[in-house]
Symmetry: C2
Subunit: 309 residues, 2 copies
């Protein structure tokens, strides 16, 4: 088998990078010539985890076919969230915890999806099933991914399997789960020093919904007011992105990681779909969504359903 590149989604979050590192280590233990790469640079949260556990960020790639044909995807499957030349590559394996959409292969493959809170939780189970050893640094990255994806277990996407995996990984990583977890999450909330366009791209994904394209960005904060103090600047940047990239709707989900609420800001042609999806009324393009912290479980399905109505 030729070299295999393993990567998570565009605009990588801590799971996209942590799961790629962990799955590449597992494949290497199976004698696969694997390398974890990334479709973007680490966020400040991810960089905090990499620094803490003494790892380098994976090499950033923008296309792959010149280098190899064989790839494995973690933490995503939708082609619009993947590498630019994904349709020309041979996908050997996918490990993911998202819905499946805009994904297809010519050949049979390994595909393992489970509706848990984090891809790294599934990879932890694979290590257990194969009785493979997990190094301290890899355990630390998987732990960081679970903390990040579940907002330290507060997200409705979190399952007992995520909690169990995190507790076991915290032991191997030799950190106190609660205190490390809060420090990690806070490392991702430094928003005020970033231009609006950068902030909107920190953790943004595109989704086809009916015949429209919806861009959904999420930022974590400990102070929603700090985000919305910049509403005019954000709206202008969102409108620019809609025009340049052809998005029909841009939704910013600002999540207060302490209160576990989100406030949304919507810009585009499909604001009535937003109101229908969340049974709310946008005031000044904004709405508070109490208890909403998960894009995957509390935003994308509701909005998809509204578009398909």
């Amino acid at each position: 088998m030729s070299k295999v590149l393993i990567f998570g989604h565009l605009n990588p979050d801590t799971d996209a990078i942590g799961a790629a590192i962990a799955f590449a280590e597992l494949q290497k233990a199976l004698d696969v010539d694997a390398e974890a790469v990334a479709l973007g640079t680490p966020s400040e949260e991810t960089q905090y985890a990499l620094d803490y556990f003494g790892l380098n960020a994976p090499r950033v790639v923008t296309s792959i076919k010149e280098e190899t044909n064989d790839v494995m995807l973690v933490d995503h499957n939708e082609f619009q969230q993947s590498v630019s030349d994904i349709r020309e590559l041979n996908i050997l394996s996918v490990v993911d915890h998202h819905r499946i959409a805009n994904f297809e292969t010519a050949n049979p493959l390994y595909y393992r999806a489970e509706p848990v809170g984090c891809t790294s939780t599934i990879i932890y189970k694979m290590y257990q099933e194969m009785e493979a050893e997990i190094s301290q640094a890899v355990a630390g990255m998987m732990l960081s991914a679970i903390i990040s994806d579940t907002l330290l277990f507060k997200s409705p996407t979190c399952t007992p399997e995520d909690v169990n995996a995190a507790e076991k990984l915290a032991e191997i990583a030799a950190v106190d789960l609660e205190s490390y977890g809060l420090e990690l999450l806070k490392a991702g909330t430094k928003l005020s020093d970033k231009p609006a366009a950068v902030l909107l791209d920190l953790d943004a994904k595109s989704f086809p919904m009916a015949d429209k394209t919806v861009r959904i960005a999420q930022v974590n904060t400990v102070d929603l007011q700090e985000v919305f103090d910049r509403q005019n600047e954000l709206e202008a940047a969102m409108a620019t992105e809609n025009a340049e990239k052809g998005y029909d709707l841009f939704l910013l989900v600002a999540t207060n990681i302490l209160d576990s609420d989100s406030e949304i800001l919507a810009v585009g042609n499909e604001l009535t779909q937003v109101e229908a999806a969340f049974d709310t009324t946008l005031v000044n393009n904004r709405a508070l969504l109490p208890g909403v912290v998960s894009r995957k479980k509390q935003v994308v399905p509701q909005l998809t359903a509204a578009f398909n109505r």
Copy 2:
């Protein structure tokens, strides 16, 4: 959770029905209110296995939403091979060994695909992982599915995992693998008493390729001549199906299970794609493909590649 219906693909083969029965039993052991159903009546091969192990054929359904929302798919994922109202249902789980295409969900789910020869092999592994007991009859159906899908281990799709599962299942089912296997395969080769339209529908699947729709039927035989004695009748029925169902190409793959060769018969507008796919020349719409026995591995990818060139 409401009632969960579990089923394989349209025009069910022995794996589609055997895997549904086996996966439903496993779900019941996990306290899920599950029922195996089928998207068609059993073939003679499948009926031989059901009779041998004293099981009733699963109830046939053509739509599901009036009965329940929750389904699990085995041995397929492509929506055009599934139940008519699949897009309106909530897919909780998929266990499969095919390529992934024309499949999407709104929500995260369990998806387990492995590039092995038979879905029942994966389900056997799941029983092992969960340390669940396999009854003699269920073992017999899983064994029959593996024999059927791998042509008694002769197909290039067959992996050591399939052989291992079949050997273990033959012990539980208390049959001699070789002699039972040959009897089972022979039970599916009684073709001469069937009208052409019935024969073409025994094991047929539709595949989108580029912007075309290709219908590929496969029949097993111990005498290719017996099939092609009826070439005129078959061609007429294939042309009728193309016209009525809008297929751009109809390919019949007649497989000699003793010699492990196939002869193909092609009817439709895309005959040049067939010649390109198999690097052959159709003579009288026919070509011998030595060593070809697997639609999934030796027909569909090659033809898909030809259409995408």
